[in-house]
Symmetry: C2
Subunit: 145 residues, 2 copies
Amino acid sequence: MLACAMRRTPPATRRSGCPLNAALEMVGDRWSLLVVRDMMLRGASHYADFLNGHERIATNILADRLRKLAQIGIISAARDTQDRRKRIYRLTKKGIALAPVLVEMVLWAASHEATGNQPLVRSMRDKKSFLTAIRARWQDTLQAL
Amino acid sequence: MLACAMRRTPPATRRSGCPLNAALEMVGDRWSLLVVRDMMLRGASHYADFLNGHERIATNILADRLRKLAQIGIISAARDTQDRRKRIYRLTKKGIALAPVLVEMVLWAASHEATGNQPLVRSMRDKKSFLTAIRARWQDTLQAL
DNA sequence: GGATATCGCTTGCAATTTGCAAGTCACGAC
DNA sequence: GTCGTGACTTGCAAATTGCAAGCGATATCC
């Protein structure tokens, strides 16, 4: 199977062909990357995990973002077999590949503003080992299925 | 002078202390990073340069974003001494420091979607030399003042 | 096994933001 | 002094956001 055939979203109608524009049309809003962060760094996987995050996302917006992120192929959604009321959200390969973007945004913000969570920032300074660790953790959660 | 004293924006009221949240409150919208891209990659410096970009930003939104980016300290604005109708917008140090973020977003989008401008993508693959070149060009434009 | 709680949403609605089009106003060119 | 240009501002309809309340399916308790 060709990699191309696996893309979830055919280019759609983009305002321009610029890859940066494509990225921004997918995750260029206030909330999408925070949802990704919660999954990647805080291990969030249930609806309530995201709702209770520190930024207090509104429930209708959360539902909308989860839907869009799934459509785009950044996350996958599945019913929890242990508790059928719950759904489990997971990062896909495309989703975990956003890690370098998050790292650079965090490092940029931390070096130009007064921000919290300095331990996280410090651990990100060694990008290579941070990314390796993140990817390893993600692989592990896939094993656990 | 302490570095801290140079910050343009005292933390403001953020939804959370997370550096990623801070970054998103500053540039987490559809347009801000496209404006930065136009300056960084296309050498845009006048209002019309941005207006005529391929994504066709609306004029009121452009004015708003230029104002906000200047407030935050990502760009600076100055009257053109050659033609006093014009204003010249330039990236500050904080603005040019966004280059790694742009690079990672472009590389991510290009490897998960069908996008245009492959020459740019290819040149970004060697991140280190790409960033060095970008920073050098930025320094040059400052010399020319 | 019927009442109660929990989970993941949806709905209503006001307020803000976006996007397009049409000005406006200072300056420069002729 | 008239005309064009550059950088915006204004008006307005449409879309998006944010908050609160509700709802249906599933689990838990007694």
